[in-house]
């Protein structure tokens, strides 16, 4: 194997998603449930509120980012060992 590129892409990838997830999660938590009414016009059978969807998906992104960061850390430890 040749020289590694120097920067493991998992660091920026994980960090970006942790921050994106935190932003969405935090924003969802801050939203007043009452004012965060359904955002679509008149959907039959679907009333997902803005706070729920931002929080849920924010948590998913955060989790994904954390897993990637964990893998990056494990990868770094692995490469320093002979």
């Amino acid at each position: 194997m040749s020289q590694p590129a120097g920067l493991d892409v998992r660091w920026p990838l994980g960090l970006l998603f942790v921050l994106l997830g935190a932003l969405l999660l935090g924003y969802g938590l801050l939203l007043e449930p009452t004012q965060a009414t359904a955002f679509t016009g008149e959907p039959p059978g679907m009333q997902v509120a803005a706070d729920v969807i931002n929080m849920t998906w924010g948590a998913v992104l955060l989790l994904f980012g954390a897993v990637v960061l964990y893998l990056a850390r494990r990868g770094r430890r692995g490469s320093t060992q002979p």
Binding site: M1, S2, Q3, P4, A5, G6, L7, V9, P12, L13, L15, L16, F17, L19, L20, L23, L24, Y27, G28, A36, F39, T40, G41, E42, P43, P44, G45, M46, V48, A50, I53, N54, W57, G58, V60, L61, F64
Partner: protein, 567 residues
């Protein structure tokens, strides 16, 4: 659509990362090989995701959703019949020659295998094509942002061009590849909730099928025309695409898909940057796994949109019309974003959309600067200079390439027809290319003269076929029939598939005939370039998932299962 502070925060955060990666990689760019080939140091999974992402430009995301609305699930032929087998073929059979020959680009392989004139033909047409596709991508983006957010066309084009320019200028191909990995995940995480919410809204798969059956019958097709694939391909008139099984299997599956995925340097460059032969071969196969599932991410939204639109009285959802009154299918994804995403998620969706535009642009720019620097500048303008000189030329070319793309975007903005014509011209050049590579890699008797004149005749055959045929309802001109319309096709897509079939066949036959009439090259010169003269890669002791062969077979098997599930 109105953006809130949170949406801007997400957008800005993404831009900081994009530029940060370029900046962080700057100090690793020491030689031209670092800059153009990532020093051949990229792990297989990163190369694989970049391979996929480079193709995930505007045409893919916007265009596939539009086709999903227009043609339904049959659009998945582009994946399960088209892309997947071609990507696996590239990994198993062709990568050993691209990577093993140490060629630095696809045109350079043509030079090693055939001769200078074949390389020049490919390099020049490819370089021109990348500039115009990148320009068209930028133009589409400027138009879309203007329509959705009221952003100024000029500001959108210049800001995105500057960002792409900066991160490639600083970090070269590695920077483009790393950003493509980010873009891949952004697109997946940005659009997946859209599909989920849309499906919920329309009543799940059952609700979608019911709505699409109405769509089909109201337009004079059988009920399943939008939700089934092969079972509707017995006759061109049975499906909205207007193609039958032979055109799909040969035109799309064999000629067009293999021509694109196996010979287009834009994607092949990502695999060539891998850190070993094994990684280079696995990269396209790894890419095929998510690619196989992409119909659910990019085609399904289009199907949902047209289903919602069918019941506009209850759903209130409709795609806007173009100036001429026809439905503007290109707005499928943006309209769904507005429909389902609240502020916050909207920022994420918009970022994903911008990411896809930028990945398409960056792919073109990195491929352009490599082909220009190695295959044109170093070969015909100034050879024998120091490596530092070529690294500098690469950086300057990045600036020139982006500037030319911006110019092309403005050309597209003012003369729409010129861009259509150029795209057509490139389609002619590309259609026969796979025949040249197939013969070059697997038939040692193929000669340089055979390849060059075969390619040229294939291109002319494509142009002739286009000039003599016309899709139903079109007037002679850019759509075809500019010589005389002696053949008529039910749709533009059918015409495209058949143009490709004629071009491929002409190139294939003439390359063989001319090769047999010309002097063959010495066999020792072809070692590492042709299948029968090259040692097979050794794979003893590697588990099956690390070997391209079994991995590829598993991927093709899975996509076959998907085809049957949605038969």
């Amino acid at each position: 659509m109105k953006l809130a502070a949170i949406d801007w925060a997400i957008l800005v955060l993404y831009f900081i990362f994009v530029l940060g990666i370029g900046y962080a990689l700057k100090r690793y760019m020491r030689s031209s090989e670092d800059y153009f080939l990532s020093g051949r140091s990229i792990p297989a999974w990163v190369a694989g995701l970049a391979f996929l992402s480079a193709n995930l430009g505007a045409q893919e995301v916007i265009g596939m959703a539009a086709s999903g609305a227009k043609y339904g699930l049959a659009t998945s032929h582009f994946y399960w019949v088209g892309a997947i087998p071609a990507m696996v073929f590239l990994g198993i059979f062709m990568m050993p020659f691209y990577y093993g020959s140490r060629a630095r680009s696809v045109p350079e392989y043509l030079k090693l295998r055939f001769d200078e004139k074949t390389r020049a033909f490919n390099a020049i047409s490819f370089a021109a094509m990348t500039i115009f596709s990148s320009g068209i991508s930028m133009y589409a983006m400027g138009l879309l942002l203007n329509l959705l957010l009221g952003w100024d066309f000029t500001v959108s084009v210049w800001v995105s061009a500057t960002v792409v320019l900066l991160y490639i200028f600083l970090g070269g191909l590695t920077s483009a590849i790393y950003n493509e990995v980010l873009q891949f995940f952004l697109i997946v995480f940005g659009f997946a909730p859209l599909v989920f919410l849309g499906l919920q809204d329309i009543g799940g798969w059952a609700g979608l099928t019911a709505a699409l059956n109405d769509v089909a019958t109201s337009r004079g097709y059988e009920a399943g025309a939008w939700t089934q694939t092969w079972s509707m391909s017995g006759d061109p008139s049975a499906n909205p695409m207007g193609v039958e099984w032979f055109g799909i299997a040969m035109g799309l599956g064999f000629v067009l898909a293999f021509g694109y995925w196996c010979t287009d340097f834009l994607v092949v460059q990502r695999a060539m940057a891998a850190n070993s032969m094994s990684a280079a071969r696995r990269a396209p196969i790894i890419a095929a796994v998510p690619k196989m599932l992409f119909p659910f991410l990019v085609i399904l939204p289009g199907m949902i949109a047209i289903g919602l639109m069918q019941n506009v009285d209850t759903t209130g959802f409709a795609l806007p019309a173009k100036a001429d009154g026809s439905i503007n299918y290109d707005l499928t994804i943006p309209m769904l974003l507005i429909e389902y995403f609240p502020n916050g998620m909207l920022g994420l969706g918009l970022t994903a959309l911008l990411a896809s535009f930028m990945s398409g642009m960056a792919g073109n720019v990195t491929a352009f600067n490599t082909v220009w620097t190695y295959d044109i500048y170093q070969s015909y303008i100034r050879s024998g200079a120091s490596d530092a000189h070529y690294l500098m030329v690469g950086r300057v070319t990045t600036i020139v390439g982006v500037s030319l793309s911006v110019a092309a975007a403005y050309v597209a903005n003012s003369f729409n027809n010129i861009m259509d014509m150029l795209q057509l011209l490139f389609a002619f050049v590309n259609a026969p290319l796979f025949a040249t590579f197939l013969l070059g890699m697997f038939w040692k008797r193929a000669t340089g003269h055979g390849a060059f004149f075969g390619l040229l005749s294939g291109t002319i055959a494509a142009a002739l076929h286009h000039g003599l045929s016309l899709p139903a309802g079109a007037t002679a001109g850019v759509k075809g029939g500019w010589l005389q319309a002696i053949e008529s096709y039910p749709s533009e897509m059918a015409q495209n598939f058949w143009t490709a079939i004629y071009a491929f066949t002409t190139c294939f036959v003439l390359t063989i005939v001319i090769s047999l009439l010309t002097r063959p090259r010495e066999e020792r010169e072809l070692v590492g370039l042709v299948y029968s003269l090259t040692e097979k890669p050794q794979e003893h002791g590697v588990p099956w998932y690390g070997r391209p062969g079994p991995l590829g077979a598993a991927v093709v098997g899975l996509s076959l299962v998907l085809s049957i599930m949605f038969w």
